[in-house]
């Protein structure tokens, strides 16, 4: 019996939710484990970097990498995994487009460090000590990874073969991706493994969306009693569904919450946030600047709303000064 294909899971700047998603496969995970050998999975098993480094190049069939790339350590790891793996799957919103960590691209690195180590309420750091990449203590040199200026998506660092979208990817799309990989039935390289059509397509509320939204005000979910049947945009809630790839079976709208866009854009769109801004603000009622501003006041955090998962892929890259 030939060796089972070897699979690696790795995490970069992420919350751990993508790891949960793998566990969320429930009994299906047994089928996966039966079919493959897991050679790396830091969240669940103990492996050392040297173990992977020692493997021959291309000896790993698939590396699933989640999380954005923020530090030099993450960058080193993914370069190594790229060398060892035949197929690299960018797993989840952070790896695909920066995700929540990429919201840091709104701020300079210095401002972030200053806030976190000095100004943040609850910090007690009178000497203003900051983490250093290299520290000598009792004759020993300790190192920490370098924090990059910018949070990047995985494909801005290494070549990526496939993408699994979502925050996190849903068990259904993970399972179908795994099955496709095991069966060797993969689409063209670079494909996002989820239907290339926007979410409204599979949303139960679709028919209740009026042709003319005529948005007069925006509301946030906690400010309104949400009608469980009616299109969320029609209720003045920012639902990113029209600008977001489907595949999750409209999980959030089905749970009476607007889509926040975690599956990213369709293949035709370069910049999900810009595209949705262009679309939804074309549909607001007021025509005078002051009235328009009043409507926009309903969205206190536009970047966090429209680029919640995609700031690394924003055409405007980051704040420099």
């Amino acid at each position: 019996m030939p060796d089972k294909p070897k699979v690696a899971f790795y995490w970069c700047a992420s919350c751990g939710g993508c790891e949960e998603a793998v566990v969320d496969l429930a009994e299906d995970i047994l089928k996966v484990v039966e079919a493959v050998d897991i050679v790396l999975w830091p969240v669940a098993m103990d492996f050392k970097k040297a173990d992977i480094a020692a493997r021959p190049d291309k000896s790993v069939a698939v590396a699933f990498i989640n999380g954005a790339i923020r530090t030099s350590e993450q960058e080193e790891w993914v370069h190594m995994l790229r060398r060892k793996a035949q197929v690299v799957v960018s797993f989840g919103a952070c790896a695909n487009s920066g995700g929540i960590p990429a919201l840091a691209n709104q701020f300079k690195k210095e401002d972030i460090l200053k806030f976190v180590y000095e100004d943040c309420p609850g910090i007690d750091n009178p000497q203003k000590i900051r983490p250093q990449t290299s520290t000598v203590d009792e004759g020993r040199t300790l190192t920490l990874p370098v924090l990059h200026n910018m949070v990047r998506s995985l494909d801005q660092v290494i070549e990526v073969d496939y993408y699994l979208p979502g925050c996190p990817p849903t068990p259904k799309i993970i399972m179908s991706a795994v099955q496709a990989i095991l069966a060797g039935k993969l689409p063209a390289r670079g494909t996002v493994l989820s239907p290339d059509i926007a979410l409204c397509e599979e949303c139960k509320r679709k028919d209740s969306k009026p042709a003319d939204l005529a948005l007069a005000e925006f509301k946030r979910p906690h400010q309104v009693q949400i009608d469980p049947e009616k299109c969320l945009l029609a209720q003045g809630l920012v639902c990113m569904g029209p600008a977001t790839r489907s595949g999750c079976e409209a999980l959030c709208p089905s749970g009476n919450m607007p889509c926040t866009g975690c599956f990213g854009p369709t293949s035709r769109v370069k910049d999900q946030g810009a595209k949705f801004v262009s679309s939804v603000f074309s549909n607001i009622v007021p025509k005078e600047e002051k009235d328009i501003d009043a409507v926009l006041d309903g969205i206190p955090d536009p970047i966090g709303t429209f680029y919640r998962y995609g700031l690394s892929k924003c055409i405007l890259r980051r704040k420099l000064n």
Binding site: D196, I197, A198, L199, C200, E201, K206, K209, P210, A211, D212, L213, A214, G241, P242, A243, S246, P265, T266, S267, R268, V269, K270, K275, F276, S278, S279, V280, S282, N283
Partner: protein, 669 residues
């Protein structure tokens, strides 16, 4: 001509691009080093031929392009020259002549965008290179496109039955086209029908207008719908679907012959109600006809004043008197649909509301009249049979005409209404002729620009009409001297004499200016055309396309476009008819292929695009749950493509890769 074309090979599978830069005499070459740009372009990826030439648009220039396409097997063409507005079509044809699809071509405007707007030759040359590079990068992604042809419906709708609409309708009908003329009042004729004489010839307005009105009614090619309004317009150039509401006049138009026996028989023995046609100076009965030559000559019933409508208990003597049984108290509004290829809007104007200048006392002093009221008073068929009398029946001994009421005024309307000077002169002449009164004209400037207009002014000067140059400050009945007792006094600074005058008169005539119709905005939206700041309909070009609009197939004529006199109105109506004929006789229209389309399998049916289309080209297919763009209506504005949140709308010639590569090109080095 520099030779930059030494047998270049194409190693990288890029399309073979030809680059051409025009000197445009010295228009471009005077500021831009064209040979240097051509040399630079020769080194850009994909460029296999790069030439500069004195006049690219000339026959030899075009021939050179066609020749090169064949010889060098060019697959893309970039021409850096003037504005695409001027010569895009020229070079598209040159491409076609060489056997290349016309849309494998990109034009670079280095004249208006570089040589004409810069003086620094080095910087202008560098900019020309940047623009050239952008086009070279972009043109790779161009696709072969075809212009679509759609047939044109030969029928025409004319909206508005004033002299403009009448003239346009008759011109088209005489050319053998079927015309529907829709007029919202009960008769055609418009403002002109209310005038007595016309300046400067003083020929009788009715004498020249009524034959044209009858010709409209009797013309086999004209369908006349009065008391009707267009409520909806759908479709596109050559193929408009128009919905018209025919309001009930409570008289069956086909049966009524205009004998007016019903009017005699009305239970109201005497006319009692203000007569709109006579500006309220005369009276009519509930059943009435505007004026004897009204066209169609059909009576109508005003439900606001008719006893039968108000109480349901009239003995209906009018209906009894009608032996043709034409009176129908139960008549309902009718909705008709029309299919036409072109539409001419001739919806006219309204006059300025004199009450908005309260210091002139209109509505307060009975001796103050508007010019239109005077038109009716001096008219032989008017309420006083041409006698100029005050509202109390007395004859005025002195009359003051105030020019520019609601014109040339920062506070009301800034524009000159163009006709008031001349009609004021005409009314001065007629008032003097009819009443022998002293007539004073209070003017800012006399604007008598028109054939024989200045001569008419001279004639008035010799007739003893007084002219006082100055804007009247107020009209008052407050007498300061015994001579002013019982008079209206016009207080004015005589700017020629240099002091303030008080001129006592019995009658004041306000030369009210011309304004857009009250519903001009609604109408322009209904017909999807533009209007200027002041509200008059916007022509496509103020000089070179004065009757066209930005919506193909919709033309404008007369005072709906701007204030104008009868000769100009008729000339414009003729021009609009000619433009409509051009469209119809071509038989089809060619559509630019820069349209957008929805990629059906990519569309999620979110409808975001549907309300945004300014041309209502997008509909939602309820069966498929997808948006659909009618490419015949689409004008290629790109709004939908930009707004489609899932990028499922593509616009020809503006696809993402074309735009991004162009940006990359213009920013690159």
């Amino acid at each position: 001509m520099a030779d930059n074309n030494a047998n270049k090979q194409q190693p990288n599978g890029l399309p073979r691009i030809g680059f051409y830069i025009c000197h445009c005499g010295s228009n471009i070459a005077g500021t831009i080093d064209v040979a240097d740009v051509a040399k630079y372009a020769a080194g850009l990826p994909g460029v296999v031929v790069s030439r500069d030439y004195k006049y690219m648009c000339s026959d030899p220039g075009q021939e050179m392009i066609a020749q090169d396409i064949r010889e060098h097997k060019l697959e893309r063409l970039v021409v850096a020259a003037c504005s695409p507005n001027l010569h895009e079509e020229t070079f598209r044809k040159a491409a076609a002549k060489g056997g290349l699809n016309s849309f494998f071509f990109q034009m670079v405007n280095i004249r208006e965008h570089a040589s004409w707007v810069h003086e620094d030759k080095k910087a202008a040359t560098a900019k020309a290179k940047d623009l050239a590079r952008a086009a070279v990068y972009r043109v790779r992604f161009h696709k072969a496109l075809e212009k679509q042809q759609v047939p044109v419906d030969p029928n025409v709708l004319v909206v508005g039955g004033g002299i403009a609409g009448i003239h346009a309708a008759l011109t088209l009908a005489n050319a053998g086209k079927k015309v529907t003329l829709v007029e919202r009042e009960s008769t055609i004729g418009g403002h002109m029908a209310a005038f007595d004489k016309t300046f400067p010839t003083l020929d009788c307005a009715a004498c020249i207008l009524t034959p044209k009105m009858s010709a409209v009614k009797s013309h086999p090619n004209i369908t006349l719908w009065t008391y009707s309004e267009v409520s909806k317009v759908e479709g596109y150039v050559g193929n408009y679907k128009v919905t018209v509401k025919r309001k009930p006049r409570y008289v069956i138009e086909d049966l009524c012959v205009g004998c007016m026996e019903c009017i005699d028989a009305c239970v109201f023995k005497e006319p009692k109600f203000a007569d709109k046609f006579n500006q309220g100076l005369g009276k009519r009965k509930p059943v009435y006809i505007d004026f004897p030559q009204a066209t169609p000559k059909v009576v109508m019933i005003d439900p606001e004043t008719c006893i039968q409508f108000k109480t349901g208990k009239c003995k209906k003597s009018c209906a009894e008197a009608c032996d043709r049984k034409a009176i129908d108290f139960d008549q309902k509004e009718e909705v008709k649909e029309l299919q036409v290829g072109a539409i001419i809007l001739a919806t006219g104007f309204k006059t300025f509301d004199a009450k908005k200048e309260p210091h002139y006392g209109y509505g307060k002093y009975p001796g103050v009249f508007t010019a239109l009221e005077i038109e009716r008073l001096v008219n032989a068929s008017g309420p006083t049979s041409g006698e100029v009398v005050l509202r109390d029946g007395k004859h005025p001994k002195a009359v003051g005409i105030i020019h520019c009421v609601g014109s040339r005024d920062e506070k009301t309307n800034k524009w000159c209404s163009r006709v008031c000077c001349m009609y004021s002169l005409k009314l001065a002449h007629l008032i003097k002729e009819h009443s022998g009164a002293e007539v004073y004209n209070f003017y800012i400037d006399i604007r008598a620009a028109g054939k024989a207009y200045e001569e008419f002014y001279d004639k008035l000067l010799s007739e003893g009409v007084h002219f006082i140059r100055g804007r009247v400050a107020e009209v008052t009945d407050w007498a300061m001297t015994p001579e002013e007792e019982g008079k209206l006094v016009l207080r004015v600074e005589d700017t020629l004499a240099g002091f303030v005058r008080r001129v006592p008169v019995d009658m004041v005539v306000l030369a009210t200016g011309l304004e857009p119709q009250a519903d001009a905005q609604e109408v322009r939206r209904r017909f999807n055309i533009g209007c200027g700041n002041e509200g008059f309909f916007q022509e496509r070009h103020p000089k070179l396309a004065p009757v066209n609009t930005f919506t193909d197939g919709i033309f404008i004529a007369g005072a709906c476009q701007s204030p104008k006199d009868i000769p100009d109105t008729v000339a414009q109506a003729g021009a609009a008819a000619a433009e409509a004929l051009v469209l119809i006789d071509a038989g089809h229209v060619e559509l630019e292929p820069n349209t957008s389309h929805v990629v059906e399998e990519e569309c999620c049916g979110c409808k975001s695009c549907v309300p945004l289309c300014p041309y209502t080209a997008i509909t939602f297919d309820e069966a498929k749950k997808k948006a659909v763009i009618n490419e015949v209506i689409c004008k290629g504005c790109g709004v939908c493509a930009a707004a489609c949140p899932s990028g499922s709308i593509r616009q020809n010639l503006f696809e993402d890769e074309e735009i991004f590569s162009e940006i990359e090109g213009v920013l690159g080095k």
